[in-house]
Amino acid sequence: MKKTERKKIIKGTISSNRAVRPDHFELTMEAPWLSKVSRAGQFVMVKLSDKFTDPLLRIPLAVHSKNAGGISLMYKVVGSGTKILSEQKKGTVLDVVGPLGNGFNDEPILKKKGRVAIIVAGGHGIIPLYLLAKGFREKNIEVKVFIGAGTKEHVLLEKKLKKTGASVQVATDNGTLGHKGSVVALAEEYLKKEKGEKAASRDIKHYTYACGPRVMLNALSKKLKKLNEPAEFSLDAYMACGIGACKGCAIKTVSGYKLVCKDGPVFDMRSIVF
């Protein structure tokens, strides 16, 4: 277990906030301390209104990437909170609470020499995984990324990931980019080929990290379990507090309900009850 940093309210100036896709934005904010202490898979709760109306609550967003002076968030505009965020101009101050959650566990990779990190993402599930992939690449660890999306327009971060030296394969539902079909099938195919004859034996060469819609993670877990693969998934839930106080973000696990904000958002695949 890694030491958990204390949580803080950070008020940082927005240094940029721009569309990277028609409905996806990347926002960079000054937050040197957050940049220093936060890990891949952790998140912040972003305040969007002082008026207690729409939205009343903060929204959870993953730490997407870091630089010396701050962090960046990448988000899809889906409702009122993300809409307000997309309208924030450079120079305004953003109020976030963080770092929150456990983050991905990089030890299975770092502690076993030669192990390959498999990253499987559905839709904007790739957002928190980018930082993980980048971290591994900086240590020269082999990273295989599989990104799934509806269409070409929805594929995020493919180029940025390739730049880190990770190998990236894309699957789209309509075949407008990469393979036509499911990202789960793509990842499964790769692992099967890698393992060859020993497809059902316990794998010590690969370790999988995934994030995406629940249906996709469910399908992926079935395949990975069949292949006897170790994996951890980052999950999503509606959140009110983000700090373990409301018990609103529960998900079912083999040992009862767990809180996505406090016990997660990253869970061992085998502990999740789909």
């Binding site: 305040k47 729409d54 009343l56 839930a237 507090c241 106080a245 409301c246």
Partner: protein, 304 residues
């Protein structure tokens, strides 16, 4: 400036408290707040046995409000005492333990188990959680039945060694009648309101959004309703009223006290900002100063 409030013989350093289920045990907020500044911390409701809570999703934001169906997830009084009492006892403020049960027997046992040497400073009886089923109640909530409310308070008063606050539900025809029931049972105070029953609909799936289908509404959306509930009870009982519902600012707290509350509890606001308690207390003090009011008590029921 005198902020002290006396309820059931206990002196609280100020009349602004945190509401059950919205502040954990306080520990969750330690990184953000000086817990000792808080008038009182009301802990998340505990029950005799552990409860796993309702199926997710458990929360959804609605217009200026939050709909929840947590279902009283808690580890049970035994584990709660073992794991959390030592931290709670170290606090330099008052701690109110909220308890609930499905049956009279459970309430009785839980109330007896809660007590420890000079601890807690009070018990809040959650007679109004919309997310549990009470087999003994005619209605879905104990606090929808004045005589059952009276009976429950009586049972708990027998084993409690500290003041007992009865927390009431707003989904009733006449909340003053229920408050009188609590008073007749021997309650030292009533706190109101718990959440209002509500429903959120997902038009895509044509299903309720919450796993439990219905939930309890809290936040700014319910403030005028909660104020009216306090106003309706004020003057109808002799015991103090603790006002709860959508308090987001120091002035909201003032409004509740003017309507008749001797103290207030901050709920959903804690989620919007983990340091909001501090802001609310500051604004409350600033108001008293501006109005040249020497003692917070002077506000209670001033509304004409």
């Amino acid at each position: 400036m005198d902020l002290k409030t006396k309820i059931g013989g206990v002196i609280f350093k100020n009349p602004i408290w945190t509401a059950s289920g919205t502040f954990g045990t306080g520990e969750e907020f330690r990184d953000f707040l000086n817990l000792d500044e808080i008038g009182a911390i009301v802990t998340k409701t505990v029950t005799l046995k552990a409860r796993e809570g309702n199926a997710p999703p458990r929360i959804v934001e609605t217009a200026s409000g939050l709909l929840n169906s947590i279902g009283l997830e808690n580890k049970g009084i035994g584990a709660f005492k073992k794991e959390d009492y030592s931290c709670l006892k170290k606090l330099q403020t008052k701690v109110i333990i909220s308890i609930a049960g499905e049956t009279k027997e459970e309430f009785e046992k839980c109330a007896a188990l809660v007590a420890d040497k000079n601890f807690p400073h009070a018990i809040e009886l959650n007679l109004s959680c919309p997310n549990v089923i009470h087999p003994e109640a005619k209605h879905s909530l104990i606090a929808q039945d004045a005589s059952l409310t009276e009976e429950m308070v009586k049972i708990v008063k027998k084993s409690a060694k500290c003041p007992v606050i009865a927390k009431l539900a707003p989904n009733v025809t006449d909340i003053a009648e229920i408050a009188r029931g609590a008073e007749n049972g021997g309650a030292d105070a009533v706190s109101l309101v718990n959440t209002y029953m509500g429903l959120a609909v997902d038009v895509q799936s044509m299903k309720p959004v919450l796993g439990n289908r219905v939930g309890g509404l809290s936040g700014p959306a319910i403030k005028p309703l909660a104020l009216k509930a306090v106003w309706d009870v004020y003057g109808k009982v002799k015991i103090p009223i603790i006002g709860i519902g959508g308090i987001m600012t120091g002035l909201d707290a003032v409004e509740f006290m003017l309507a008749g509350a001797s103290a207030v509890e901050i709920g959903t606001a804690n989620f919007t900002d983990p340091v909001i308690y501090k802001t609310i207390l500051k604004e409350f003090k600033e108001y008293l100063k501006r109005k040249n009011i020497k003692s917070a008590k002077e506000l209670v029921g001033k509304l004409r």
